[in-house]
Symmetry: C2
Subunit: 406 residues, 2 copies
């Protein structure tokens, strides 16, 4: 129980199926839980036109700029396809005409020894890489705090695992002579139009992250094997793996190495960890890297009652800047824990791992919980202290799934 668990396929099979065979299959006597009936989706808001291509039954539309993946719509095959990936925009996206000629999109690079404007075509000549990453909204889990913060009440569905394709930002910086001396941040500016009559600083999507993030950052033009959909930031998106969604600026038009953080409101006072009842201030911690977190995707909340018997309890675990190394699962609300097994491919430190625990559940109500530990020994916290904006909720207790067996 106390050692890291990373069973390969073979061992998982060997240990799991013997037990299953011994118990007999649920088979003919066992029906499996169904996802929430589609009727629920039918009553919900329709997808906004710019993301009408998404799988409507898999999504919850909170608003035109906030669309969540249903808890039950996460699969067990690792990747989150574009048509199930969440949407969260701080401003309305630019006109879709910007993807008519993707290679012509221009990016101004500043704070390097030889600043210049590069097209996506130029960037493609500088290097190529593929980078798997959990993309997760800073507010994912806000709706699972017992305290209520204003903002979208995301549960687990403002997150997904995607593979970006693009050029390492380091290659771009090096090709332009390297980062200018004294720079401490990387600042990205989005290409959204600023509504007329508004102070640009109050709404512009411009974020700064510590320059250490340069190490694995990417300027990406692809996601999951196709050009980044316009709704997800195409033609060009700035990617800081391990950093929460807002830092990964869409439609990036300016990339600057800077001495200081941007003075945009989204950086100075928003996306800060603010004490309950307080107001954001630059002295407070910025919402940057994500922490150790896991949750159970199946059984998902809201399913019909399960029949007694064997259940594959599976979900995802991540460490933010570090890979998950261990996941424990509890079927009694956190009183006792058992090591789950990882399954499927390991896509590296910035990706999530899938885990499974095979369990027999008796009739009654069960509280299923998961708790991840990352490669640095950081253990997922039981409760994330509430903050005024409800950011970065990773508490395992808030992510428990209640199931009924009947």
């Amino acid at each position: 129980m106390s050692t890291p668990t990373d069973l390969g396929r073979r061992r998982l099979l060997a240990s799991g199926t013997a037990a299953i065979a011994a118990a007999g299959i649920g088979g003919a006597t066992r029906a499996v839980a169904q996802a929430a009936p589609p009727a629920a989706a039918a009553q919900a808001k329709p997808l906004p036109a710019y993301v009408s291509w998404k799988d409507a039954d898999s999504m919850i539309v909170h608003s035109p700029n906030t669309v969540e993946t249903r808890w039950s719509a996460f699969g067990s095959s690792l990747i989150t396809p574009a048509d199930r990936l969440y949407i969260r925009n701080n401003l309305a996206p630019p006109d879709v005409s910007i993807v008519a000629n993707r290679d012509a999109w221009q990016l101004a690079v500043e704070g390097v020894k030889q600043p210049r404007t590069l097209t996506v075509a130029d960037l493609k000549s500088l290097g190529v890489d593929a980078l798997p990453m959990v993309l997760q909204c800073s507010g994912n889990g806000r709706g699972l705090f017992s305290d209520k913060a204003s903002g979208t009440q995301w549960k687990v569905g403002a997150a997904g695992l995607v593979i970006w394709g693009g050029v390492p930002l380091r290659a771009v910086a090096e090709a332009l002579g390297g980062v200018a001396p004294g720079m401490r941040f990387v600042t990205g500016t989005g290409g959204e139009a600023i509504p007329a009559g508004i102070d640009p600083k109050s709404v512009i999507v411009e974020r700064s992250v510590p320059i250490s993030a340069l190490e694995d950052a990417m300027l990406a033009w692809e996601m999951n094997g196709e050009p980044i959909p316009h709704a997800h930031g195409g033609p060009l998106r700035l990617i800081f793996p391990g950093y929460s969604g807002v830092n990964n600026v869409k439609y990036i038009k300016r990339l600057a190495f800077t001495r200081d953080e941007t003075d945009a409101r989204i950086q100075q006072t928003r996306y800060r960890i603010v004490p309950p009842g307080g107001k954001g201030h630059p002295s407070m911690p910025a919402v940057w890297t994500m922490g150790t977190k896991s949750w159970i995707n199946s059984p998902a909340p809201g399913q019909r009652p399960l029949r007694p018997g064997w259940v594959q309890i599976h979900g995802v675990a991540m460490g933010g800047m570090n890979a998950a190394r261990r996941v424990e699962v509890s079927i009694d609300g956190g009183k006792t824990w058992r090591d789950a097994a990882f399954f499927g491919p390991n896509l590296g430190r910035y990706a999530w791992r899938q885990f499974v625990l095979q369990a027999q559940l008796r009739p009654g109500t069960h509280q299923l919980a998961s708790r991840a530990t990352d490669t640095q020994g950081n253990v997922q916290e039981e409760r994330t202290p509430f903050n005024a904006s409800g950011y970065l909720n990773a508490g395992w207790r808030a992510h428990m799934v209640q199931v009924t067996v009947a």
Copy 2:
């Protein structure tokens, strides 16, 4: 030149960008090749209704049952999304109503000690895994043989990298008491309707593979994070990683461990490596596992002329049953070779790896080639001997890409 090359991101950057910086960016002086103009697509056949959701600009419609991914539509972010994945059906798919209640789909399992019929819901209680695999049509590359075989003239686009989600077939067999004694094959039967008035054996999609394939086989209900699209075999598909497309039976309704190969025509005389001019016979090698193969995706054939300067020559390499261990690239039609670097995540032995070589191309015409070596030391052949049906073409010479620099 003679050692395996598997550079990490860091080394790739360090070696690549110094050279780029030294040469200066193509930047303002360099336009990048564009994909073939969309006009070509506009003149082509429209997508069949059952796959109308695919990305039309990325696909070549050969016939209602054969749809290819354009050479230029492969990206550099590893995965092939469902809407760019090729289609090849041996029979018209069953009615789409079979995915209305996926968990109710029934599979008869035979040749085990306790044969029985299981639903997808039952299967989901037996185990869960995620399995990345190159799915490749047995005839991929047929159109690149200099000899012409009848059948779809696939180039490279009857292949893709997908991640399946499902239950290991071993777990199912073990739960049913294990494989019955004496069985030497695994035989899968598809659920397509047999047209009236035809001998079922002449058209039924029923394939047998050696029982050794049981080791890593899967009964899959998911692909790339969502339920398998009906057009790709949902609700349930039999997956034998490393085996060519036809062996991965869609809409699987019967899974049998058998003493002998099925007597269906698709097994007995079709999908055999037949000498040119000959006829298929059970004594000839069956089209089962795939071999060592690679090709260059970018630059793709048919692009506009490149400007002189640095080019990222990238593509994919696979070993069939073994991972690719090394890829060499030639820019002079195979006279000289340089080691390419792998990039992006490694999804295991059945997946392809992405490779890149940074090269400077002078004005003129260049023949770009790639040559893979797998972990067992098998080197991609220069020429695959032609066979009557044009199966399994993996010759590097046939897969060369000609580019013009002007």
